[in-house]
Amino acid sequence: MLVIICPNCGPRNDNEFSFGGEVIPRPSVDTDPATWRRYLYMRTNTSGWQSERWFHVSGCRRFLNIERHNVTNEIRMVTDVGGNNDA
């Protein structure tokens, strides 16, 4: 069970959050199938530090940007997508 230091709630266990994965920018809806489906399906899936989206569903219900090392599970940055980050 990881500790995620929520900028709104403080240290919480990871089972209060839901995982959103890599942040992939949404292309224009007028784009071609290949581009759209890269957005839907293709992932870098790097090993190491990853910027990802989490949702504090059982806490403040805010979406968070998190930098996590997906081998050690060390977390070095957590911010609210709304930029409201005074814990």
């Binding site: 994965g21 290949a34 890269r38 399906y41 293709m42 992932r43 997906n70 081998v71």
Partner: protein
């Protein structure tokens, strides 16, 4: 298979009495400067592919490069369940062939892989999951697969330890029963393929890590490893967990995220659970090995990771669910937990076939069901390499389906009902 001593009861006795040593199951080789085919990953997929390349197609100038020891990845960490009762036609056909190969594997490889066809039972706890079971059963029957929906009484008869009482939270309203399903000794499958492939001339390079893939004008020209470089025109990515990273070496991006899948084993007790029991609603599957241990599995971890350390929550959640099904095992002890890495695809279907790089093939994205597919994947990939194009069994699983938007329908099963 001339270069191999045949195993048999008689050989056991003669060797035992004479104390004469057994011949080596496989030899160590220096890394050659060139191979016709380089297979990345010394698990069941890679070794089976090597074996069928050699046996079915006479392609023996083959190297299997494994960064650790053979079977150290998913092949040695899975819960060794074999079945073919999938939802889709393509899935059922594919895995049915795998079961067929597993049934013959011991004699094919002259290595007892201990395939125990004790039956595979998927419990339904509500009407919607029972509907999905029936869907699977009906598709399976049309493919000639032994698969049917059975009543709670049948469940009780086949697995008396299961609590089929009027359970408040998870009543058992029926089950999908698949007699040919069962468990196999996973290490034995790996060793059997390795021994057979080695005896046909395949080079198995353990402790040899792939460090790069050389691509020239859109085609494979060679690979680099921790033990030196090799020139080759054909590379097959047979890894699980690291498939995105290996493909990235060739500049190929995959629709894959890597998640740990955890498993655990209890101390041995006297045999009392015969079939493999699965509960989708409880995210749990359990079987009792020939050694008497209970082997448990669950669904993949809630977030992606390349770590195989395992979590406490897996064991606490698992135990809660198991005791919902079998209250009597409360004082059995969990002995060991571990995790393997699973390459999850958006539609729960594997990715087998060519890529935009000529000579670079993938056999990846096996999610949580790669082990049971090992033999058929090896056979099919070998045929694809030999014939230059994917056969019917694997054509639905090409990488291009994601750009085309023609996903496989196993996703249907995963998303239907609750």
């Amino acid at each position: 298979m001339s270069r191999r001593t045949r195993f048999s009861a008689w050989k056991l006795i003669t060797h035992g009495l004479s104390r004469s040593p057994w011949p080596k199951v496989w030899e160590h080789h220096d890394l050659a400067s060139a191979y016709d085919v380089v297979i990345v990953g010394g698990g069941v997929h890679g070794l089976a592919t090597a074996y069928y390349l050699a046996r079915n197609h006479g392609i023996t100038n083959v190297a299997v490069v494994e960064k650790s020891y053979i079977g150290s990845g998913g092949s040695g960490r899975n819960t060794a369940i074999v079945r073919s009762n999938y939802l889709t036609v393509e899935g059922s056909r594919f895995y049915d062939r795998s079961v067929e190969l597993y049934e013959r594997l011991a004699s094919d490889l002259n290595f007892n892989v201990m395939f125990s066809q004790r039956g595979h039972m998927t419990l339904a706890h509500n009407d919607s999951s029972l509907r999905t079971m029936r869907w699977r059963a009906e598709v399976n029957k049309l493919e000639g697969i032994d698969s049917a929906v059975i009543s709670p009484d049948e469940v009780k008869r086949l697995a008396p330890f299961i609590d089929t009482s009027d359970h408040p939270r998870y009543p058992i309203v029926g089950a999908l029963w698949h007699p040919p399903g069962g468990i196999v000794r996973h290490d034995a499958v790996v060793w059997g393929y390795a021994r057979a492939a080695a005896s046909l001339g395949v080079h198995i390079h353990q402790e040899t890590e792939l460090t790069g893939i050389d691509v020239g004008s859109g085609r494979i020209v060679g690979v680099r490893t921790s033990r030196g470089s090799v020139s080759t025109s054909t590379v097959i990515n047979c890894t699980a967990g690291w498939s995105s990273l290996v493909s990235a070496m060739a500049g190929v991006t995959l629709p894959i995220t890597t998640r740990p899948l955890q498993a655990a084993v209890t101390e041995p007790v006297r045999q009392f659970l015969h079939p493999v029991i699965v509960s989708g609603s409880l995210h749990t599957y359990v079987s009792q090995t020939a050694r008497g241990e209970f082997v448990f599995g669950a669904s993949v971890d809630p977030f992606t990771s390349y770590a195989t350390r395992g979590s406490l929550e897996f064991t606490t959640g698992l135990a809660g669910h198991i005791l919902e099904l079998m209250p009597a095992v409360a004082n059995m002890r969990l002995l060991r937990q571990w995790a393997g890495l699973c390459d999850m695809t958006p539609d729960y279907g594997p990715i087998i076939g060519p890529t935009e790089i000529e000579g670079f093939y993938v056999d990846v994205g096996w999610g949580t069901y790669g082990f049971k597919a090992g033999p058929v994947a090896g056979e099919s990939v070998a045929a694809m390499i030999a014939n230059g194009k994917p056969g019917d069994l694997i054509s639905p699983f090409g990488l291009d389906r994601f750009e085309k938007g023609t996903l496989t329908a196993e996703k249907g099963a995963a998303a239907v009902g609750h």
